[in-house]
């Protein structure tokens, strides 16, 4: 087994997560992407033929589609070497990956976790140390509760086998077809792992469903696919990832998320991602919302070299609604291009987009969003609000909203402001005895409050701490 070390493009910044896992992969595909690779993946997973067909179709799209390069002001993707991608590594679950124990982790990692205040049990799980941790037990208990209600929460690969009909119907068909964009096509060809969530009619899942409970069993991958089906009247809050620094040996993460919100159902999808700073993070996330349904996206994008992420909601049924809350933090050498897309395709649909971005030390943030109101979507309303905060003159912040309004009986508003941290605000706080750093941190915490208040308390605390650490530069 060779090590993945060679593949990690060394960055000049101090790698925040600079330990390497020794891969113990039972199956490892060749570099680059060919039909053989795709067949190998499918074969190894023992997939039904229809899934192999879908993968091969997606591969064809991937080969024929252009790179997204003509967007104004988009991140530079030239550092992305597609040939270098190893699309598939199946971990050997009998062997533990990573460091053997907490103490083997580099000090700065330990330090980060400590500063984040993450409970030790979770620390171990998150940092890839050991497979025995308490949340596994928690997860088991929850499994039992869910099963009683008919809720399914399992690995996507498992779902292909166990819930074939559902997956066949919903997987990359109507929501995110592989022809959508080049990276959706790539994802469709080589996807692996991720979560499958099915909530039966009128069932409310009280506790957030958290993907990182299963982190050591492929919960987090390079091309993971999340499929959420919320039947009529059901309710669920799905949380992906967590704000601890996530270390990947790959320089490309291209996930796919598909959410089906049926009549009067309510789905919240929260994610705070913090990829290591060598990663290109290019995702496709989309929800289709039926009559009276509600979709909420809460996204925090930190870390990564470049991120392009625009969660999209299609409001298909009368009275459907979407709320997007996004926050982006770009530090040195980072380019975070995020926003939201909403299509109002039915009457009385409502959407809100709230975006906050912070750029520091030459970081680059961009809000890019599209609101489309189709003809006949009478009585629809949308409100978009973008605020950007900049710390210094090396940083940049752009706002590029697009509004396509094909219906007159609507209410559309977009607003954005950009500013630097007010000297007066800092002065005020300093005169109350805070030092400069604390004052700025406090202003930033206030600035991102709309996001943090949407997250469960532990995430909110983590996110705030993480931003504090970013501000101190102790993670950079």
């Amino acid at each position: 087994m060779s090590s993945e070390q060679d593949q990690l493009k060394e960055t000049n910044t101090e790698e925040r997560f600079s330990f390497k896992k020794d891969e113990s992969a039972a199956v490892k595909s060749d570099k680059g992407l060919t039909e053989e690779v795709v067949r190998l993946i499918s074969d190894d997973k023992d997939e039904p033929d229809w899934m192999l067909d879908r993968r091969l179709r997606a591969l064809e799209h991937w080969q024929n589609m252009p790179m997204p390069t003509d967007w104004p002001g988009q991140p530079d993707l030239s550092g992305l070497d597609i040939e270098e991608i190893v699309p598939y590594i199946r971990p050997d679950v009998d062997k533990r990956e990573g460091a053997d124990s907490w103490d083997d982790l580099p000090e700065d990692i330990q330090d980060t976790f400590e500063k984040l205040g993450i409970p030790e049990a979770e620390r171990k799980a998150l940092s890839g140390v050991g497979a025995q941790y308490e949340s596994e037990v928690v997860y088991q208990n929850m499994q039992e509760q869910w099963e009683e209600k008919g809720v399914v929460f399992c690995n996507m690969d498992e779902a292909v086998q166990e819930h074939e009909d559902l997956v066949k119907e919903y997987f990359m068909t109507s929501c995110v077809p592989p022809s959508d964009n080049k990276f959706a096509a790539l994802h469709g060809a080589v996807w692996s792992g991720g979560s499958f969530v099915y909530i039966p009619e009128d069932v409310t899942v009280e506790m957030p469903v958290q993907a990182y409970f299963r982190m050591n069993s492929e919960g987090m991958g390079q091309f993971e696919h999340t499929l959420i089906i919320a039947e009529p009247g059901s309710e669920v809050h799905y949380i992906e990832g967590c704000s601890a620094p996530k270390y990947g040996t790959h320089n490309l993460h291209s996930g796919g998320v598909e959410v089906f919100v049926k009549e009067d159902a309510h789905v919240q999808y929260s994610t705070v991602q913090n990829w290591s700073k060598n990663t290109f993070n290019l995702n496709t996330k989309r929800a289709i919302v039926e009559k009276g349904g509600r979709m909420e996206w809460v996204s925090g994008s930190m870390g990564s070299k470049a991120t392009m992420l625009y969660p999209c909601t299609i409001l298909k049924g009368r009275g459907a609604s979407a709320n997007n809350i996004t926050i982006a933090f770009a530090g040195e050498g980072q380019n975070i291009d995020t926003g939201a897309k909403v299509y109002h395709n039915a009457p009385n649909t409502k959407s809100t987009i709230e975006s906050k971005s912070i750029s520091k030390d030459g970081g680059r943030t961009n809000y890019r969003g599209l609101v489309h109101i189709s003809e006949g979507a009478t009585g629809s309303s949308t409100a978009v609000e973008c605020d950007a905060l900049m710390f210094d003159n090396e940083s940049t912040s752009d706002t590029m909203p697009y509004m396509e309004i094909d219906e007159s009986k609507v209410d559309v508003a977009h607003e954005a402001t950009v500013g630097k941290i007010g000297d007066e605000d800092v002065f005020y706080l300093q005169s109350r005895g805070l030092d400069d750093d604390d004052a700025k941190q406090m202003i930033v915490s206030g600035f991102i409050e709309p996001i943090t208040e949407e997250l469960p308390i532990e995430y909110a605390v983590e996110l705030n701490r993480l931003i504090e650490l970013e501000m101190e530069g102790s993670l950079g």
């Binding site: 003509d70 104004p72 002001g73 599209l370 489309h372 003809e375 009478t378 950007a388 900049m390 710390f391 210094d392 003159n393 940083s395 940049t396 912040s397 752009d398 706002t399 590029m400 909203p401 697009y402 509004m403 396509e404 309004i405 094909d406 219906e407 007159s408 009986k409 609507v410 209410d411 559309v412 508003a413 977009h414 607003e415 954005a416 402001t417 950009v418 500013g419 630097k420």
Partner: protein, 417 residues
């Protein structure tokens, strides 16, 4: 990828003929010929693209059918006060070649895109406005009435230190346009499509003040491409007012480079589209240095199947310390068949900035309507009053009374059409 091959139908002779008729010096002829040569490589002006659609499709236009440079015919009034020079382009070439040589193509690169190059190669009419140091020139009027299939118009405004000028420009179409009579005479059902192209360059000297207002009221068989751009030196102000009412399709951009410290710009836009008019309107500003201020205000109303595309760009450069930049755009839709697209963009490379932008799209407020009708007004009068009221905040920004009244009158006319 351009589908228009009009440049293949334009010969060098045509360009030489135009140049000769204006008595141009060699350097200007060379500029024209270079622009003609470049046509093969140049792209159409940028339009906004979102997944699956271009907001304006300029490639689909049949330029060949309406570009007829040798038969250009127009009526032009060019008047100004004594102490400023307001010259038709042929006189300007004769008397002020120095100014033309210095400024022609300095604000807008003739080869910026396909349509600027086409205009550079073929312009046969134009105006030079020159305001010497410390002169305050009011009431410069440029009125262009198009009588031919195509018309390529070029305007250059040069203001020296501490001068000021107010310019009112109007474009419309003559009743007895040649294009129509020609097609009628031949008995063909040739389309009456026409093309108007206007390039405006403003070089605003130190501490000078330029107000440039224009009212575009071409007939609805005319395709209109307009690009206006000003460079503002230290402490200069370049203010634009642009009203768009006419044309079949308009692709217009009003732009200011704030190159000098303390320079300012205010762009006021108003449009009122009906039938199947298509307005693609942009307001752009580049903050290139310290202490600059920009305010972009646009309001538009759409009726019938009219469509508007609005792009606003506030670009704050790395060296633009202490920038203030504001942008507001509001569209009112009067019918279900209309469509309004908007993209207000902020590009910020200097954190010492106070910037904001906003855009809204909506319809007439039902409560307002109810209030008015409950006071005894019929629906139509109430609607008209509300539309006129909608334009008030923009009209208030227009400092030149004559232009304000003109705009108001045209809006009223349209409401009663």
């Amino acid at each position: 990828m351009t589908t228009t091959q009009v440049h293949e139908t334009i010969t060098e002779e045509t360009v030489r003929e135009i140049s000769e008729s204006l008595g141009e010096p060699d350097w200007l002829l060379e500029t024209r010929l270079d622009a003609l040569d470049a046509l093969g490589e140049l792209e159409m002006p940028d339009v906004i693209r979102t997944p699956g659609r271009d907001w304006t499709n300029l490639d689909a236009l049949d330029y060949e059918s309406f570009v007829d440079p040798l038969n250009a015919a127009e009526e032009k009034d060019q008047v100004g006060p004594e102490d400023a020079e307001v010259l038709p382009i042929s006189e300007a070439i004769e008397e002020r070649e120095d100014l033309l040589k210095e400024h022609f193509g300095s604000v807008i690169d003739p080869e910026e895109n396909y349509l600027t190059a086409l205009s550079t190669a073929l312009f046969s009419t134009g105006t030079l406005v020159y305001v010497p140091k410390n002169v305050d020139a009011e009431d410069v009027t440029i009125r262009t009435t198009q009588h031919s299939k195509s018309l390529f118009n070029y305007t250059l405004v040069v203001t020296e230190q501490s001068s000021s000028v107010t310019i009112l420009e109007r474009q419309d179409t003559g009743e007895d346009s040649e294009a129509r009579s020609a097609s009628d005479a031949s008995g063909e059902t040739a389309s009456g499509d026409r093309y108007y192209s206007g390039i405006v360059e403003v070089a605003a000297g130190e501490n000078s003040h330029v107000q440039y207002g224009s009212l575009q009221d071409l007939d609805e068989e005319t395709y209109n491409y307009t690009l206006k751009r000003g460079n503002a030196s230290d402490y200069a102000t370049v203010n634009w007012v642009e009203g768009n009412l006419g044309s079949r399709l308009t692709k217009s951009s009003v732009e200011t480079n704030l190159d000098g410290e303390g320079s300012e710009t205010k762009t006021v836009g108003a449009f009122f589209g009906h039938n199947d008019q298509h307005f693609d309107i942009a307001a752009r500003v580049w903050h290139n240095t310290a202490h600059t201020t920009a305010d972009l205000v646009t309001r538009g109303v759409l009726d019938d199947e009219a469509r508007s595309v609005y792009e606003g760009v506030q670009d704050v450069g790395r060296d633009a310390w202490d920038t203030n930049s504001y942008q507001r755009e509001n569209t009112l839709m009067l019918s279900d068949e209309s469509e309004a697209d908007a993209s207000p963009k902020l590009i910020i490379n200097n954190h010492d900035t106070e910037a904001s932008h906003s855009a809204t799209v909506g319809q007439i407020d039902e409560e307002d309507m109810f209030y008015m009708t409950s006071r005894g007004l019929d629906d139509e009068s109430a609607r008209n009053m509300l539309v006129e009221g909608f334009f008030v905040p923009v009209l208030e920004e227009v400092e030149v009374e004559e232009l304000r009244e003109d705009l108001q009158d045209r809006i009223e006319d349209r409401l009663h059409e």
